[in-house]
């Protein structure tokens, strides 16, 4: 005990002798420029979105526009009949919300089963969850395309909106890890009161797992809002497109000339993700840390 105390006081004294101050300065000397680099793409995006066209191509590039042209946002949004951003945003929102709910419901059920129920074959099935956790959807896309073609689902939102109701291994794993930390005594007490598994899940696990469920919902929001591969693959007609595809169509049509308008619509597309991130940041970081370390 005393040896340990002495050890601590030695390192404490050492650090007080200028070491800590130098450490602070060094750390900030790296933290701040890196932070600037990380926000720079956004600054470029927003500042270009606010410039009149003739300033976009001005050299040297200015990060703060000389004159601010707010109309760019409306002009980009409504400027061309060919790409309808209002429809695209509405579609993106509809798909994203549906997919969040689908993922939360299906993954909660599976995670509860894997965390708390005993059954033969459980280890086998959980091994499959782990094995498929890192598998990106890109590797399955060719046969899935055939499948959805067979179902007659092409050019509808169904290929994007139905699979989320059937679980997602990464989310199941994440929630299971969280469910394992809920004290067994709570479950036992509820069982004595005669509660079935549905009630235990609804009245104990879900209320206690709000942070984990929030993490999952945020991940699902960002993943679906940014999803580009799926919509590009399954959707054809303009009425059903989502926001990322709209942006690319806009790029194809006007991208090389109307940079200010394109950056304006890109800014609008990023805002929801930014808001979600700012408000859900805490959950986000915890969720990822869980997946990596306890895995």
């Amino acid at each position: 005990m005393t040896a340990r105390k002495r050890k601590e006081s030695v390192s404490w004294r050492k650090s007080i002798h200028g070491r800590r101050a130098i450490g602070y300065i060094l750390t900030f000397a790296l933290l701040v420029p890196l932070g600037v680099a990380f926000v720079l793409p956004f600054i470029v995006m927003v500042s270009t979105a606010l410039k009149p066209l003739n300033q976009v191509f001005a050299f040297p590039p200015r990060l703060i526009p000389e004159t601010v042209q707010w109309e760019n946002f409306a002009d980009g949004w409504y400027g061309y009949g060919y790409v309808n951003f209002t429809t695209c945003t509405w579609n993106s929102l509809k798909i994203t919300i549906n997919n969040i709910i689908g993922n939360v419901v299906s993954c909660t059920l599976a995670a509860y089963a894997f965390a708390r129920l005993k059954a033969r074959g459980k280890n086998f099935f959980f091994a499959i969850v782990l094995a498929t956790m890192l598998l990106p959807n890109e590797a399955l896309v060719v046969p899935q395309y055939v499948l959805f073609n067979r179902f007659g689902w092409l050019d509808t939102h169904l290929p994007l909106m139905v699979p989320p109701w059937f679980g997602w291994p990464f989310f199941i794993f994440l929630l299971r890890q969280f469910f394992l930390t809920i004290p067994e005594e709570l479950v036992d007490a509820a069982k004595i009161d005669g509660a079935g598994h549905a009630r235990i899940l609804l009245q104990i696990f879900i209320p206690l797992s709000k942070p984990a469920l929030a993490t999952l919902a945020i991940f699902a929001f960002i993943g679906n809002w940014n999803n580009f591969f799926g919509p590009l693959l399954y959707l054809r007609t303009p009425d059903v497109q989502t926001l990322p595809v709209c942006l690319v169509q806009y790029q194809g049509a006007y991208g090389n000339t109307e940079w200010h308008l394109m950056m304006a619509v890109a800014t609008i597309a990023v805002i929801p993700v930014l808001l979600i991130f700012v408000f859900g940041q805490r959950y986000f970081v915890e969720g990822i840390a869980t997946s990596g370390v306890k895995g």
Partner: protein
């Protein structure tokens, strides 16, 4: 005594089992219909002359694989993918480690910096890929302008065959958020006592990092390397929005090769063969991850 009780217990156990399967049913159906089914379907289709319609398929054995291995563009795309994988692992992971070490310092405002560093990861998508085209603009972009200020003539970035892959690697270094956070959590899990005893032995900063941090972090590092390899297979958005595999074939990576064959050239049999190869590679990587993970857990239990 045992006998009398064994019956009701097993009945409730059976009930629990039924609930278990009921609860995992959605996932199980999804697995069969959307993952396992397609994977094996893909294997089957890779042995056929499948182009557009599924009717009237001819079994052609390994012809698709033979054609694939004869296609120089396939090997170019394998080479490009490996280039990007190595670049992302070497530069991306070491950069993420640097960020994690910085974020592990006890200085005020660290949560703010953590959020800022994570930000580009959540916004990675079409919108930000569009911004990067502008950043990479050789004449007017902010990147070459900044380089010029410090006296460096910047390269043409994504518009040049030599620089397009380094450009994509550089860009991916802005979205190392998840890797950074996993490494940060790993760093925070290193027992303080190890650093204290290293200090008593007179270890400096580098020696502590080299002899305590890195060995303790190695399983997490391995996990993170696997994740960054897997995500290197998923870089479709940047390629589609920024380069379309070009200039020439210089940024044609496997996922782009698959996309072009499947949905542009309508060579679906060949695309299925590519997809199957990708699937096997990814499964081997996942297997390696768990093999190493298990060994690590064992080691921990042994000594701790």
């Amino acid at each position: 005594m045992m006998r009398r009780f064994s019956r009701p217990i097993s009945a409730s156990a059976r009930r629990e089992e039924r609930i278990f399967y009921l609860f995992i049913l959605p996932w199980l159906i999804g697995l069969v219909v959307f993952s396992a089914g397609p994977v094996f379907g893909m294997l089957g289709l890779s042995f056929t002359d499948w182009r557009i319609s599924l009717d009237d398929l001819q079994f052609i054995g390994l012809d698709n694989y033979a054609k694939l291995f004869d296609d120089p563009i396939f090997w170019t795309s394998v080479g490009n993918t490996l280039y990007i994988v190595v670049g992302r692992v070497v530069f991306g992971v070491s950069f993420a480690l640097l960020l994690a070490v910085l974020l592990n310092q006890k200085v005020p405002g660290i949560a703010f910096f953590r959020a800022v560093y994570y930000l580009p990861t959540v916004t990675a998508g079409v919108a930000v890929a569009l911004v990067w085209i502008w950043i990479f603009n050789p004449r007017l972009g902010i990147l070459n302008y900044s380089l010029k200020q410090i006296g460096i003539q910047g390269p043409p970035w994504i518009f040049s065959k030599t620089w397009v892959k380094p450009s994509l690697i550089l860009m991916s270094m802005f979205s190392v958020g998840p890797i950074m956070i996993i490494l940060l959590a790993g760093l925070q899990g290193v027992p303080k006592e190890l650093y204290e005893s290293a200090e008593i032995d007179g270890a400096g900063l580098w020696a502590k990092f080299r002899n305590v941090t890195l060995p303790m972090l190695s399983p997490v590092l391995f996990f993170v390397i696997i994740i960054s390899v897997v995500s290197s297979f998923q870089n479709f958005t940047e390629i589609r929005v920024m380069t379309e595999g070009g200039p020439g074939e210089s940024s044609n990576v496997l996922i782009w090769y698959l996309w072009e064959n499947a949905f542009i050239f309508l060579q679906l049999g060949i695309a299925a063969a590519v997809a199957w190869i990708m699937f096997v590679v990814l499964m081997v990587l996942t297997g390696a991850q768990f093999w190493v993970g298990r060994r690590w857990v064992y080691y921990e239990a042994d000594t701790g």
